[in-house]
Symmetry: none
Subunit: 173 residues, 2 copies
DNA sequence: GGCATATGAATGAATG
DNA sequence: CATTCATTCATATGCC
């Protein structure tokens, strides 16, 4: 779910690979993949230098600018953190449902007197990870990929591009 | 028609109350009611804490996650705004009376009796955004106007960036 | 059974 | 780094 609709290989992408006019960057699957892998490898806040390089590399797969890379990392990091922050409270309904004797009288206007905020600190362990069908947590499936030129691209379309080695890891060291 | 919906009453919601399996959250009527009331009472963008609490409370009525609450407010606000904007554009200045009707909600803000934030909450009152649509953020950003599809406008994001410290030992690898 | 609408979910792009 | 806005994708549901 994280990678868009990974269920099917293609996202609608009105202008990802096709290169139509669009106001905002629409990353290619390959681009997303590389970025994700970089992120998973531990890269969180790339320097300007790194951003440039990554951007250059990714331009092989489609139109991209440095700022896109920049924003991507910003967003990804922020959202991962945000998720983490929200997920762990999820299974806390234990202590909450307890004091919930608020009746729901469906008589129109009603009783919002229900105390929405129980006051107490919701104690929890941040270990609630693999709860029931929860899904707002991504990650998992750690694997390391070494990028080799055009894994699943039709290189001949871009043969004029002469992309250097795609092993980004080496480039950054 | 907005909040009310055409065929209101009870929504079939095959997995809200019934509790079937579904990929995406389907709010219970009670959940929607509470959320809507919160919204109507002026809450537009709840903080993370508030989101968690609301979510916890709402979990009483059925399965729910924090992100659902988060998205709900995001969407609700966005769509309210979108709708209003649409109205404005639709009839430039023809049916002025009509758009006033639509617009009541914000400044009206009915602080009913509902006492939603007893003690725990920290300053939510300023969350209400600006009441009347005064100035729309037309710009306020020097770069935005200069875009011109240039590939080199990346300046704007590293003004707070320190120089690549030459020794960025990335944690990965 | 498609089409329309409503709405949950996601994410790019900013801004503070 | 967090928070927010805008736009879009995806799907549920209702109507014809």
């Amino acid at each position: 779910m994280d990678e868009g609709m990974s269920g099917f290989g293609l996202k609608p992408s009105r202008c990802a690979g096709g290169g139509a006019k669009c106001g905002r960057w629409n990353p290619t699957n390959e681009q997303v993949k590389v970025l994700t892998d970089l992120f998973r490898s531990g890269l969180r806040t790339p320097s300007t230098d790194q951003i440039q390089k990554i951007s250059s590399q990714l331009s092989f797969y489609g139109k991209i600018e440095s700022k896109n890379v920049f924003y991507w990392f910003q967003n990804h990091k922020a959202r991962e953190r945000q998720k983490r922050r929200r997920v762990y409270v999820e299974n806390d309904h234990l202590n909450v449902a307890k004091q919930h004797l608020v009746e729901v009288s469906e008589s129109g206007r009603v009783i919002e007197t229900l105390q929405l905020f129980p006051v107490n600190s919701l104690a929890f362990s941040d270990q609630t990870e693999k709860a029931s069908g929860d899904e707002w947590k991504e990650n998992a499936s750690p694997y390391t990929t070494v990028y080799t030129c055009g894994t699943e691209m039709d290189n001949h379309y871009y043969h004029h591009h002469r992309l250097p080695s795609l092993d980004l890891r080496l480039s950054f060291m």
